[in-house]
C-alpha cells in the first residue's frame, strides 16, 4: 500500500446576481432626531452577512460612522419589497438599492446642515465621524446630530430616503440562447494538494491554495468567512456528500448527520487565500458577492489532483473511496502522474 501525493487545479468564473433581471430590491433609510439611521429591508440574512453588508454600504454612502446605522430586516409590514436572497443577488441588488436610499437621505441631511450653516449644500462634505463641514474649511461645521435635530424640530424635514434597484428583464432567444444574464463575474483559481491511499481509496486533502477575484471586498472578514466555509463545502461536495450514493438509484439516502457525510473539524485542510479586487462597474462600491461561487473550483480541483496522484479519472461525484478503488482496480494499480512544482 502506498499514499500518493497529487496536485490539481481549476479556474472558474461565476455570474453575480444572475437572474436575467426584472427582480427589484428596495430599501428605506431614515434618521431619528439624533442623526442615528435605520435601514429597513426585506433582505434575508442566511448567515452570509446581509445585515452587516447593507449596514456598511449605508454608512459609507451616508458618510456617518458605522455605529450610527442599524439594519432592520425582514418584516413584511415595515420592510419594502425584495425578491430574496438567492443567485448571489443580495449584495448586488440590495446593496445598490441601499445606496440610492442612503443618497437621498444624505441629500436632506446636507440641506438641513446647509440651512443651519448658511452655506450651499453642494459645498458640504461629511467626515465619516459624525460631522458635516464646508469643503476645505473644517472649522465651519455642524454635527450630524445637530443637523438632524434642526431638520426635525426647526425646519420640518424628514431625513429619509427611498431606494430601488431594478435591472430590466432580459429576453432569452429560444434559437441561439442570446441573453443578458448577468452584469458582473467573479473569478477564482484554486490548487488542491492531497494524497490518495491506493489500498483504501481514502483521500486526504492537505492544503488548498487559492486566488479569488471578488470585486471590492466590502468587508474582508466576512469575505474570509465565505471563502473558508465555501471551500469546505466544495471539499464536502467533491468527496463526501450525496443523498443518493448510487444515483440514479434513489435509495440509501442519509437520514441524519451520521449517515449524510460531510467533513468534520478533523478533516479540514489549511486554506491559503489571495483576494484580488477588480471592482464591478455596477456593483455597490464595486462589490460582487463571493457567497455562492467560492465552493465551485474545489470540486474539479480535487478530481484533477486525484488523477495527478494515482492516474484515475472519476467523473461522477462524489469521489468516494469505493469509486477510486474500482477505478484503480480497472487500471491495474496507481499510476502517479508528473509532480507539479
Amino acid at each position: 500500500m502506498a499514499r500518493h501525493q497529487g496536485r490539481g487545479m481549476a479556474s472558474i468564473n461565476y455570474p453575480i446576481g444572475m437572474n436575467l433581471g426584472g427582480d427589484p430590491s428596495q430599501a428605506l433609510v431614515h434618521a431619528n432626531p439624533d442623526g442615528k439611521f435605520t435601514v429597513a429591508l426585506s433582505a434575508i440574512d442566511l448567515g452570509q452577512g446581509m445585515k452587516q453588508v447593507s449596514r456598511q454600504i449605508a454608512a459609507e454612502t451616508l458618510g456617518v460612522p458605522i455605529e450610527d446605522v442599524y439594519v432592520d430586516t425582514a418584516d413584511s409590514d415595515t420592510g419594502p419589497h425584495d425578491m430574496g436572497s438567492f443567485a448571489s443577488r443580495g449584495t448586488h441588488r440590495v446593496g445598490n438599492a441601499v445606496i440610492v436610499a442612503a443618497k437621498e437621505a444624505r441629500g436632506v441631511l446636507l440641506e438641513a446642515a446647509a440651512e443651519e450653516l448658511e452655506v450651499n449644500a453642494d459645498d458640504l462634505v461629511t467626515d465619516g465621524k459624525g460631522n458635516i463641514h464646508v469643503r476645505g474649511a473644517a472649522s465651519k461645521s455642524i454635527t450630524v446630530k445637530a443637523a438632524s435635530q434642526a431638520a426635525q424640530f426647526k425646519q420640518g424635514k424628514t431625513i429619509s430616503g427611498r431606494g430601488i434597484f431594478l435591472i430590466p428583464l432580459s429576453n432569452v432567444n429560444p434559437e441561439t440562447g442570446e441573453m443578458s444574464p448577468v452584469t458582473a463575474y467573479a473569478h477564482a483559481c484554486l490548487v488542491v494538494d492531497l494524497e490518495v491511499c491506493d489500498e483504501t481509496g481514502d483521500v486526504k486533502v492537505n492544503k488548498l491554495t487559492s486566488a479569488y477575484e471578488l470585486g471590492r471586498a466590502l468587508n474582508p472578514k466576512m469575505v474570509e468567512q465565505q471563502l473558508v466555509g465555501g471551500a469546505w463545502m466544495g471539499m464536502s461536495h467533491a468527496l463526501y456528500e450525496t443523498p443518493e450514493p448510487y444515483y440514479p438509484n434513489p435509495e440509501n439516502g442519509g437520514r441524519d448527520y451520521n449517515e449524510y457525510l460531510m467533513p468534520g473539524p478533523g478533516d479540514i485542510a489549511p486554506h491559503d487565500i489571495a483576494v484580488l479586487e477588480r471592482p464591478a462597474p455596477d456593483g455597490p462600491f464595486g462589490g460582487k458577492g463571493p457567497g455562492e461561487m467560492c465552493a465551485n473550483p474545489v470540486l474539479p480541483a480535487v478530481a484533477n489532483a486525484i488523477f495527478n496522484a494515482v492516474g484515475v479519472r472519476i467523473d461522477t461525484l462524489p469521489i468516494t473511496p469505493e469509486k477510486i478503488l474500482r477505478a484503480l482496480r480497472a487500471q491495474g494499480g496507481a499510476r502517479p502522474q508528473a509532480r507539479r512544482a
Binding site: G47, Q225, G229, D256, Y257, N258, G266
Partner: protein, 160 residues
C-alpha cells in the same frame, strides 16, 4: 400520561416545571421555560445544536429526558456571559468571526466550555475532538477551532 414536576437549576436560577415523562430537556428548556438558546437541529443526537451542560458535562438536550434532570444544574449559552461581560469563549468567537448563520453557535459554545472547564490548555486535536459532535454547515470549522484555542490562551494568560 400524567405530567410530572421537575426542579432544576437553569443558568443559576431554580426552576420548577411540569413535563411529560417523554419530554426532552431541549423541549422543556425551549418551550417550557422560554430559553431559546439551545437549538433543535436534528432531534437525533447527530448535530450538537442542542448541547447544554448538565452538572458541567456536555449533554445533548434532544436525547436527555427532562425527568432525569431533577436537582441538577443546567447551563445554556444564555447563561454564559457574566452580566454584560462576555465569557472569553464568546469574546473569542466574536473576534474570530466564528459564526455565520449562528445556529450552531450556542451548542458549539457549550461544547467548548465543557472542554475548557476540564482542560484549560487543550491542543488543537483536543479541541477538534470536543466539537466533533457539533455540525456547522457554514464556517468550515477553522474559525471555531481558532476561537476556542484563543479563548483558552486568553484565560491562561489571565490566570498566569
Amino acid at each position: 400520561m400524567a405530567r410530572m414536576p421537575v426542579q432544576f437549576r437553569l443558568n443559576g436560577t431554580d426552576r420548577a416545571v411540569f413535563v411529560e415523562p417523554v419530554e426532552t430537556l431541549l423541549g422543556t428548556i425551549r418551550r417550557g421555560l422560554g430559553d431559546f438558546a439551545p437549538k433543535f437541529g436534528c432531534g437525533q443526537g447527530t448535530c450538537g445544536a442542542c448541547t447544554v451542560l448538565v452538572d458541567g458535562e456536555p449533554r445533548l438536550g434532544c436525547l436527555t429526558l427532562s425527568v432525569t434532570c431533577e436537582g441538577r444544574s443546567i447551563e445554556t449559552a444564555s447563561g454564559l456571559a457574566d452580566g454584560p461581560t462576555l465569557h472569553p469563549l464568546q469574546a473569542a468567537f466574536m473576534e474570530h468571526f466564528a459564526a455565520q448563520c449562528g445556529f450552531c453557535t450556542p451548542g458549539m459554545l457549550m461544547a467548548a466550555k465543557a472542554l475548557l472547564d476540564r482542560n484549560p490548555d487543550p491542543t488543537r486535536v483536543e479541541v477538534v475532538e470536543a466539537i466533533a459532535g457539533n455540525i456547522c454547515r457554514c464556517t468550515g470549522y477553522e474559525p471555531i477551532i481558532n476561537a476556542i484555542l484563543a479563548a483558552a490562551q486568553q484565560r491562561g494568560a489571565r490566570r498566569a
